[in-house]
Amino acid sequence: MKDDTQAPDTLLLANVSRRHFLKGLAASSAVVLAARWDLVQAESDKNKAYGADAMPHGWVDNPNVFIALSDTGEVTITHHRGEMGQGIRTSLVMVIADEMGADWKKVRVEQAIGHEEKYGNQNTDGSRSMRHWFDPLRRAGAAMRMMLEQAAAQQWQVPVAECQTDVHRVVHQPTQRSLSFGELASTATQLPVPDRQTLTTKKPEQWRYMMRQPKEFKSTQKEQPLAVDGWDIVQGKALFAADVFYDDMLYAVIARPPSYGSSVGSIDDKAALQIPGVVKVIAMPTPRQPSGFEPLGGVAVLAENTWAAIKGRKALKIEWDNSSAGDNASYDSKAYRTTLEQRADTRGKVVHKVGDFAEAQKNAAQEHKANYYAAHMAQAPMEPMAAVVKIDGDRAEVWTSIQNPQAARDGVAKRLGLKPLNVTVRCGLMGGGFGRKAKPDYVYEAADLSKAMNGRPVRVQWTREDDLQHSYFHAVALEHMEATLDKQGDVSGWLHRSLAPTITATFAPDPEHQSAPEMAQGIRNMPFQFPSIQLETGEAEAHVRIGWFRSVYNIPHAFAIQSFMAELADKAGKDHKQFLLEQLGAARQLNPDPKNPVWNYGEDLKRYPIDIERCRDVIEKATEEAGWGKDMPANRGLGLAFHNSFVSYCAVVADVEVTPSGSVIIHRLDMAFDCGPQINPDRVQAQIEGAGVMGTGIALMTEITASEGKIEQDNFHRYLVPRINESPKTIHVHQVNNRLDLPPGGVGEPGIPPVAPAICNAIFAATGKRIRTLPIGNQLAS
């Protein structure tokens, strides 16, 4: 029995996790010294226009919020973002540790509770963590370093300028005396935080951990900043949402309505209640539509263990009432595709127009048009959703894994009628998120069930069937493309009509058109400046909950644009790479429509312009590394695609073989990636490798379909995701523009969008067959 998996049986907000940390220390006499964090409020609310400033609760750079020192020399750094595999729990801690001069071996990491008033924004999505937190956390680390130096100066009665931090100690330069961080802890933590304007951050050449590849640590292996959770993961000790047990906890699984909006008609729970271990069956209320983050309703089976709950649910007899679901109850994704294809023939809402497309058509040397279709998908993180809620009087405690702990906290507080600060949301590691765990519906289910059980702790466990059938699905999309070429083979006119249900429909009355930020995921912000451009959204209503999926609308948009550009290159009789470079034009920075600024992932276009040179750089790098233009064996080809998203740039060359039976073998991906400075380059590489694999799945097999209002995939035999034998044989990631004079870009998502079109363009090169439907499935079967 592992005592350390027992959640602390306290609902006290303050310092609980810190005491938990101390429990694990060998030297139990350690005193953790932390100054009051609320004495110095961050000035993050002053300019709410862009970036971290514009996020709810902004940013915080007060060292006392993130760093605690102990007299034994341990440094405890609180990590406040969500860890879902992107490695941010290592990378951000590394930023603080490096700036303050801490020795990685003496750093302990605590995971923050959901508390944005204290920590600043914690909603971990949009590939924002390093982009928004590199600067504030550098300052936090620098401020703590200066406080330690000040403390040493006071102790020695010398000028602070003579005191410098090296590794975990401050050295008096003239005498070479030194005091360790532990010795300085009690004084340093009592000092005022230096003004932001007086902070001096380290020069990059003084960094010991940031922007270094693991191989650089080989000669001094001890210094390697190993992944914070690495050993816990490989030894099975890492704690995810379902790994914490509360005394007297009940285990719940829920039978949810088959169609979005349908409700419980009648329940026969006699057989379920006979299953040994089943304690109670509870009908959940059906939410109003659109349901947002509200649970879907259904029938919950509460039991003394997970298996009894699963068996109990199987034994339920439920008649569902589909009348509340409207036409969602007849949703058929095949028929819906036909509908979208028909609508794509007529003009949609014009969201952006340059020149006159009709005029371009009149003067065209060649015209071309094509429809591209990309299917629904489910995020399917390997860890199905789980959450425990326990209510005790006017307080509640949550243990879960979630991308947005603040939304969970405030939502639980609201539905239970508690003060938000009386709800403590503790976060384990997320076993993958990919956008699914940005929605706290599963936490609310646990809150409702705990309330129904008079506050008894209840863990809601989603099964894989639940996950696949009741996801917030990636939008299905139909992209209608038209273009004209002039006599030189240059694009003279471009029409992109995009039809996809909007995520807005999950939260507000369905506008049946993509929103401006959705259209700015590849379409509105495309780097091509053709003489005539017409961008439209077509009508597309939602019939399931639509939600974020890693890189979101960039997936269908990039698939269409990057495939269509390859088709146009072919029409123009030009090499695809050369054609892309010609159509991009000379290196320059774009702000496509200054009067009506395009959404730029929340970033200022002045700081993060659409940079043609960086588009060209990634194309050049990927093609060079892949040997673009070389002779390929029969049935094998190279395909290229690039895409800018999350203010980063990625180009992919895929080396693909199509076997006589129509199987696709991906021999190699060359992925050139530019996110500006790579603070933790090995994790950047890992994210891009992972995007290569997930993108391969998007290209080849990953698809959700609906029939008669029900999702047809219920587990991994029907919902196909790439396995090791189906993945690219090798993936080579190439750094581009890894430079500190650029601001940091997103990393988690931007590797995804160019992968599928690169693979499809390679299939065209190998076979002459043009793929316009994702996933490819058996389209190539002979």
Binding site: M1, K2, T5, M84, G85, Q86, P214, Q221, A227, D229, G230, W231, D232, I233, V234, Q235, G236, K237, A238, L239, F240, A242, F245, Y251, N305, T306, W307, I310, A380, P381, M382, E383, P384, L429, M430, G431, G432, G433, F434, Q461, R464, E465, D682, A686, E689, G690, A691, G692, V693, N715, F716, H717, V721, P722, R723, I724, N725, S727, K729, I731
Partner: protein, 175 residues
């Protein structure tokens, strides 16, 4: 009462005999390193060893383990091959979210105990039952090759070696 051996300890269990091993490990014994991913033996996150053979614990009832020995990820730090594999996973920085990695490691240990020098095809064949949604497969492949090499460099009698012997060996190889 059902009697099974889990990570070398005899356990007497008062659970329905149809309970999958996974839920006995997790809910009854609180050995949470074995993960729930699909419940249908499709993803491999729940892989454990039953008398040394890799099984999907989410579909295998505890009745099939009576009188037998179950080993989970929690025991791999005491297994000579398990140690080699865990170290290789660290050296290649394989894990992203980490959720599937218990199962990946349990499958790899079983692979290497049957096949000391697996080819890429062998790896594809043996490991295709373990899904990783983060896409760590390129590093899993590298880590398996690394572990195989390490194990081959180790003296023949690794089975009787102590933990510290193996660690010493490791530091020699990696230094």
């Amino acid at each position: 009462m059902l009697t099974v051996t889990v990570n070398g300890q005899t356990q007497s269990l008062d659970v329905p005999s149809d309970t999958p091993i996974l839920w006995v490990l997790r809910d009854t014994l609180r050995l949470t390193g074995t993960r729930f991913g699909c419940g249908m033996a499709l993803c491999g996150a729940c892989t454990v060893h039953l008398d040394g053979q890799p099984i999907r614990s989410c579909m295998t009832p505890i009745s099939q383990a009576v009188g037998k020995s179950i080993n989970t990820i929690e025991s791999m730090e005491n297994d000579p091959v398990g140690q080699v594999v865990q170290q290789a996973w660290m050296d290649e920085a394989v894990a992203q979210c980490g959720y599937c990695q218990s199962g990946q490691i349990m499958s790899t240990v079983a692979l290497l105990k049957n096949n000391q020098q697996p080819s890429d095809d062998d790896i594809d064949g043996f490991m295709s039952g373990n899904i990783c949604r983060c896409g760590t497969y390129p590093r899993i492949r590298k880590a398996i090759h690394r572990a195989a090499k390490q194990a081959a460099n180790a003296p023949k009698s690794t089975a009787n070696q102590t933990t510290s012997d193996l660690q010493a060996l490791f530091y020699e190889v990696t230094a």
